[in-house]
Subunit: 197 residues, 2 copies
């Protein structure tokens, strides 16, 4: 008998549960939305650090690793912004399936696309965090100098931002510093994990 006649071409894939056993945690998508300058990235970076220091497997998807990589072919029209968020949603769902606590920080102005992200990750794995800093405060902070420039399709000016209707968390950065905001989100992550055991 030839050797390869023995081959059983089985297909028992590793499950999300198998991965959970290795990582000791459940995959989640924590989706930060808000205007440019609202503070969402600062809070996400702070949260990433808190979780990493606590020994959690965490990864942050933001402009730095998405806009210059997989979405380098996209611009800022409504259509391209939707495609930007569609791809990020799919990537976040993959990371979540891999068992990673996945932090996503993008303006993501349209409700429909944030709902798509939730659907792809699964509602039980999704935490929408609305960083609700008002336009005037964002304009004054303007950490990237964007409000000063004459940019077309700029969210809050000539492109609309649709506030979340039922976010899991609303963060007020005027009364709360980034570490306090990150702690609020961490508590929700811990609560989700305890619930799912």
């Amino acid at each position: 008998m030839k050797k390869n006649e023995n081959i059983v071409w089985h297909n028992n894939k590793v499950s999300a549960e198998d991965r959970r056993r290795v990582l000791g945690q459940k995959g989640l998508v924590v989706w930060f939305t808000g205007l440019s300058g609202s503070g969402k990235s600062t809070i996400a970076v702070e949260l990433e650090k808190l979780l990493n220091e606590a020994g959690r497997a965490v990864y942050l998807l933001d402009g730095d690793n998405i806009r210059h990589g997989i979405n380098a072919d996209l611009g800022f029209t409504d259509e391209d912004r939707n495609e930007n968020i569609r791809r990020i949603s799919e990537i976040a769902a993959l990371f979540c399936d891999a068992g990673i606590i996945t932090l996503v920080s993008f303006i993501s102005p349209f409700r429909k696309m944030r709902e798509f992200a939730r659907e792809r990750a699964g509602d039980e794995n999704f935490i929408e965090v609305y960083v609700s800093t008002d336009f005037e405060t964002c304009r004054q902070r303007d950490p990237k100098g964007l409000y000063q420039k004459d940019i077309s399709h700029f969210t809050g000016k000539d492109s609309s931002y649709e506030e979340p209707l039922h976010p899991e968390i609303v963060l007020e950065t005027v009364s709360c510093d980034p570490t306090q905001c990150a702690e609020i989100v961490r508590e929700e992550i811990n609560r989700r994990e305890v619930e799912s055991v």
Copy 2:
């Protein structure tokens, strides 16, 4: 003094090294290439299981989670196949950066695109595995019944497959069963990790 005047908007992101400390491993991309029916997915699934059972953080990107998700908008023309592989390359590089041993199983017929994948992950993090089963054997196995159909742009028939020139590993599935093949790749993964300590 108002509370938010204290805010330091720092940006000390968690590094790949920080993630490595948590996961106890280095991120890698293991890229399986070969004809349809060559056995690459069977070997990748086997390897995924071996690594998961050994307590490693591993994730498999293949048709099941990519073609129906992020790349659902793409067809099978050369242009779309290149875009398919471009996006998978970027996703694999993100997973690698996150510290995951990332297995990728796609025909990926074009040398240029596999080189792109290597470049994005970083040469030191990339293992190209050529599953070198010959066309006739693949046609006889035909696990998906694809060779029997009259599919246009079918790799090995009317669409070309460019064999790797310098793959890290060549697997001969005619003389080796999937478990043996997976073990060969696992040894290379272990060797890479020892080297990188």
